[in-house]
Amino acid sequence: MRKKILIVLSIFAVALLIRNLYVMLEVLPDEVSQGPIFRIIFFHVPAAWTAFVGFAAALVLSILYLATRNFKYDSIAVAATEVGIVFGAANLITGMIWGRIIWGIWWTWDPRLTSMLICEILYAGYLMLRKAVDDPTQRARIAAVFSIFAFTDVPIVFFSIKWWRTQHPQPVVWGGGSMAPAYWDMLFLNWVPILLLGVVLVAYRTQQERVQREIDALRRYAHEF
């Protein structure tokens, strides 16, 4: 039943993404100063929002794990973190492709770009840390503490364009940037399927973490012989 719900959600999300692609390419006009490349924003920004939702979920679940010691929270936290990293990578790469055309460079050590890269490295460190600790209880506890620490970079990424002088465009949400209503609608409309895909991937990855925990438990049982 649960698997069927995930499949239905995935099909809905992909169908909506294809529909949005058609509207982006055929219906929406080119942005006046940037041209067609502006459309990258419809993936770049929702990917960042989805990554931050994943990291925020990991923060809450890590706190819940430390409070309850229930491994269920740890399983979902690692899944949300991994999916967050994937969408964070999509955000960085689409930003680099946009920057190559608009700024003429692939990368600059701008506060927004740098803090986002650090965010990705921190959460990649979280996954590496989990691989380095064998004992499941110790692994979950250390990872939860590290996840809380890693989240401190997320507000820095968000506020970096307000706190420091930057060449990154001002945010269209709660910032100095602005967009035509049609672009605005597409931005949110494209976030829906991207977030849905994120939820499906987290559910799928959480299931794998449960199997991994079952394997760990069976291994411990086997060593008792």
């Binding site: 490349i37 990258i40 990578a89 790469i93 946009w98 055309i101 991937l201 069976l218 049982y221 012989f225």
Partner: protein, 52 residues
């Protein structure tokens, strides 16, 4: 306007799909590995139970 503008827009779109597909393939391969590992550990326990 840069003549590569449209091409790079498609590169951006393709990058998002490629990243998602790559992660999906990674998840499917990991699921296979986990199933094999689970079967292996279960067989190992059965063998040890028979011996003891």
């Amino acid at each position: 306007m840069d003549p590569r503008n449209v091409t790079f827009m498609f590169y951006g779109f393709a990058a998002v799909w490629a990243i998602l597909f790559a992660y999906l393939i990674f998840l499917v391969l990991r699921e296979r590995h986990l199933k094999d590992e689970l079967d292996r550990v279960k067989r190992m326990i059965e063998d040890r139970e028979h011996k003891s």
